[in-house]
């Protein structure tokens, strides 16, 4: 399944880039994620508890940051496996300055398999979008907590 969209983070581009690549912030922003633990260069172990209505499941997996191109783009790869299925997301994040902060454009694919995909096919698109939206909402909140308003000088 292809997925794309854009969200604005209220920070100047350099700081938005740093925020997006900060494993502590990523861990806190990924819905249901406890913590990210570094296991290699740009590679992290993740434990995630997905709760959607009645559905809940633990996922164990990896987050990888690849092809860094400072301040403009990088790839974010999320891989997770659990009892109720597996998921893999691979997206290119491109940053560009806009009014009020930095626009983060994402283009990528999401694959979901196992029981959850077999019974939930009609819901994968809408729930994937919701999870991505929550991720960016939390990131924006993190950015706001840093007191980050464009023009504050970084």
């Amino acid at each position: 399944m292809k997925i794309s969209g854009a969200h604005v983070i209220p920070l100047p581009q350099e700081r938005a880039y740093a925020l997006l690549r900060d494993p502590v912030v990523l861990g806190r922003s990924m819905p249901g994620c406890d913590a990210l633990e570094q296991i290699g260069d740009g590679e992290y172990h993740m434990k995630m508890k997905m709760v959607m209505a009645s559905i809940s499941g633990l996922f164990d997996g990896k987050v990888r940051i690849a092809e860094p191109n400072p301040y403009t783009s990088f790839r974010l790869i999320v891989d997770g496996t659990g009892k109720i299925g597996f998921m893999r997301g691979d997206g290119l994040l491109t940053l560009s300055p806009v009014d009020g902060g930095t626009s983060v454009q994402y283009d990528g694919t999401v694959e979901v398999g196992g029981t959850i995909a077999a019974v939930g096919q009609r819901l994968l698109d809408t729930t994937s979008k919701m999870i991505i939206k929550r991720f960016f909402d939390k990131l924006s909140a993190e950015a706001a907590n840093m007191g980050g308003v464009v023009g504050s000088g970084g």
Binding site: M52, A53, S54, I55, S56, G57, K83, I84, T115, I116, V119, G120, Q121, R122, L123, L124, D125, T126, T127, K129, M130
Partner: protein, 281 residues
């Protein structure tokens, strides 16, 4: 399949129910039409299930002060067949008749359906068009939320941990307005690919009031406000329905793409409005 082990409680009163769910960790079981299949597939593994089956008077269908009170555990079949609902809020009875299949309508409840908040469920379109209020209560609180503020995201509602849907409140209607629930049904699941609920009141041959609720098209049900305004200001049905889904995100799956869903929403809205207009007196 067999669910994971869980603790089971069947409280005999609302107060007892509130105590049991206060922690927000337990799962409430009403008709079980969504929860039980998920538990059997082990997609849901609640540690504690609180069954509402023995709570008395939670499935009431009454009218007072110009409002219909629909108890949370009233089944779709109760709602579909109730002379009170059919007479005073026929749109909801019509929507209930479209849900799932006979078995689901016999077991499934209005409270369970709206608490689950499937983005393709049938009720939300009608509840939005009817400007329903949903009463939520817990051990410590009792509040009423408008339907427009209840459905927030797929499977996400305004319910707080520890809260229970007690009843749905709907304005009773004098029989003058025209209504219609029009739906394209998924052939396997019975869920709405799109579902449109329309209410029309005519005065002097013109549309004095229009309410349109849309389910299945987006991440959650919504009111087609632009289309309502256009109808009320004398635009044609075609002009009005062309605005439905504009600027709204649409769902996509193997069955229907986002653009196709938007198109279906407009086609079915036109059908629903046309029937509602013919029924309005």
């Amino acid at each position: 399949m067999i669910p994971e082990p869980f603790e089971y409680s069947a409280p005999a009163s609302l107060q007892e129910t509130f105590q049991l769910i206060a922690g927000g960790e337990s799962k409430v079981l009403a008709g079980g039409m969504s929860l039980i299949p998920l538990m059997k597939l082990r997609l849901a593994s609640p540690e504690h299930v609180v069954d509402l089956g023995r709570v008395p008077d939670l499935n009431h269908l009454t009218e007072s002060g110009g409002m219909l009170h629909i108890g949370a555990t009233a089944t779709h079949h109760d709602i579909e067949m109730s002379p009170l609902v059919r007479g005073r809020c026929p749109l909801l009875a019509e929507a209930a008749s479209h849900i799932g299949d006979t078995q689901v309508r016999n077991r499934g409840t209005i409270g369970g359906s709206i608490a689950h908040a499937d983005p393709a469920a049938d009720y939300p379109a009608s509840l939005l068009a009817l400007e329903a209020q949903i009463r939520l209560a817990s051990a410590k609180s009792d509040r009423t939320v408008a339907a427009t503020e209840f459905f927030l995201d797929p499977f996400t509602t305004a319910l707080e941990p520890g809260e229970l849907i007690v009843e749905v409140l709907l304005p009773a209607e004098a029989g003058k307005e025209g209504y219609r629930y029009e739906k394209l049904q998924h052939p396997a699941s019975g869920f709405a690919i799109v579902g449109i609920a329309a209410r029309i009141v005519k005065e002097g041959g013109k549309i004095a009031m229009a309410r349109i609720g849309v389910t299945g098209m987006g991440p959650h049900a919504f009111r087609a406000l632009a289309a309502e305004k256009l109808l009320e200001s004398g635009a044609t049905v075609e002009q009005a329905v062309a605005t439905i889904g504009e600027g709204e995100e649409a769902n996509a799956d193997l069955y229907a793409s986002a653009d196709y869903r938007r198109h279906l929403a407009r086609v079915h809205a036109k059908r629903a409005i046309t029937v509602a207009l013919s029924r309005a007196s």
